[in-house]
Amino acid sequence: MLCLAARAIADERGVAIPHGTVELLSEQESIQPGHAIHLGLHFRLEKGWHVYWINPGDSGEPPQLEWHLPAGLRAGAIEWPAPSRLPIPPLMDYGYEGEVLLPASIKNTSGLAAGEEVALTAGMKAIVCRDVCIPAKANLSLSLPVRAEQPRESTATLAMFSAARKALPKAAPASWRPSARDLGDRFELRVNTGQSVSEAWFAPLDPLQIENAAPQKSVSTAAGVRLILKKSDQLLKPVSRLWGLLVLPQGAYLIDAPVRPAPAKRPNKEQ
């Protein structure tokens, strides 16, 4: 118990980075061989400072983890909760201000034996920004006992993990049938959510498809929602799919919408 208490205190402090702290947290108190370990990269930043989403937008870059794990264990990719829009006119970034937990799981634990203690370590790189940016590096580690029985959830982190999971994008229901049209300098994205939508925006997962800072016009339709998205000035070729998140008040949904090509231009049409 003493050992657990000491670890809890260490966890609470985290590793200092510019304008905040970062730490690895576990959702459970032990590892059960054959079951995934649910971890999270937890940032706490001073007011006004942020880290970035997997597509950071016009500037910045997402946090990265380089895992050093005992032989056999395999780390899954970071899972990215829906970001906030971070306007820095004339630019637009996507990220997380203040506090965020980015889930990541460790798999292939069947080779572990009950009774051992496993150290999970990772090198973390990030850029922490307000109006200016400061690179951050930290060596993070967490050690967990391996036990045969089903692990208890850690009371210290349970609420944080369940909130983070709720913020992860969900697969869009098949009935939503997202589709897009190429309108020359804009895309029109339609999603049949089946109910009126008070507020919606599209967070692109491809960095070169839409102009991040351009206002997105969202229209609630009988079938759902229609969004007008300005094409990126850097987009030189037609795209076949629009890929990103539809962010609604109740949550974010993964959208992969086929794009119908632009109507054929009349020969005398400008541009």
Partner: protein, 202 residues
């Protein structure tokens, strides 16, 4: 009293030619006139017949420091200006923001870093930055001898502030210049520029 009316329309336009008003690869690059750190004016149209590189810069930005403290940017400037390229470093940081410099401070910096651009353009109002929609430092543009924009994007394919990543990176600027000079199409004409946001006035 109305006689003079037509003459008092304020001439607030920048020195724009008939070229396009947005910077888009494959189109004429917007013309501009800007003043360098030695007080000399540079007009894009005057460099017709040459390749021109525009490099957005902020000496306080960690991504800019990655390429300057390692000597990477200075090496590129020397290599390409020796091959006849006009290399214009552009500073669009507004007064009071990170990277803003006076002409004297910029000249000190260029000497200290042994940097070798053709000129460093001072753009504290952000006019040139907005004209090209420059987003980050660094953000690079290449204009060909016909005045057409042929590259808009990052310096390379490793979007980190870590100088150790330079050795294994693919430099998009050198690649585009080499391809264009040998008459080939530019294989990567756009990429997401990475770095710090340009510190425009708000």
């Amino acid at each position: 009293m109305k006689r003079g009316f037509a003459y008092v329309v304020p001439l607030v336009l920048m020195a724009l030619s008939t070229a396009a008003l947005a910077a888009r690869v494959g189109e004429s690059a917007p013309n501009f006139t800007a003043i360098d750190s030695n007080g000399k004016a540079h007009t894009l149209a005057a460099y017709h017949g040459k390749f021109v590189v525009l490099e957005w810069h902020n000496q306080g930005c960690p991504y800019t420091q990655k390429h300057y403290n390692s000597g990477n940017m200075e090496r590129l400037q020397k290599e390409w200006t020796q091959k006849g390229v006009v290399w214009l470093t552009v500073i669009s940081s507004a007064p009071g923001t990170q990277g803003y410099v006076t002409a004297e401070q910029e000249n000190d910096y260029l000497r200290r870093m042994n940097a070798a651009p053709t000129a460093a353009l001072l753009d504290p109002n952000g006019d040139l930055g907005h004209l090209y929609s420059a987003k980050t430092t660094p953000h690079l543009f290449i204009i060909n001898p016909d005045g057409v924009l042929i590259y808009d994007g990052a310096i390379d394919d490793k979007p980190t502030p870590d100088p150790a990543d330079i050795a294994t990176s693919r430099n998009y600027v050198s690649l585009a210049l080499a391809e264009a000079m040998s008459g080939k199409p530019v294989s990567t004409p756009t990429s997401r520029p990475y770095g710090c946001s340009v510190k425009y006035a708000h």
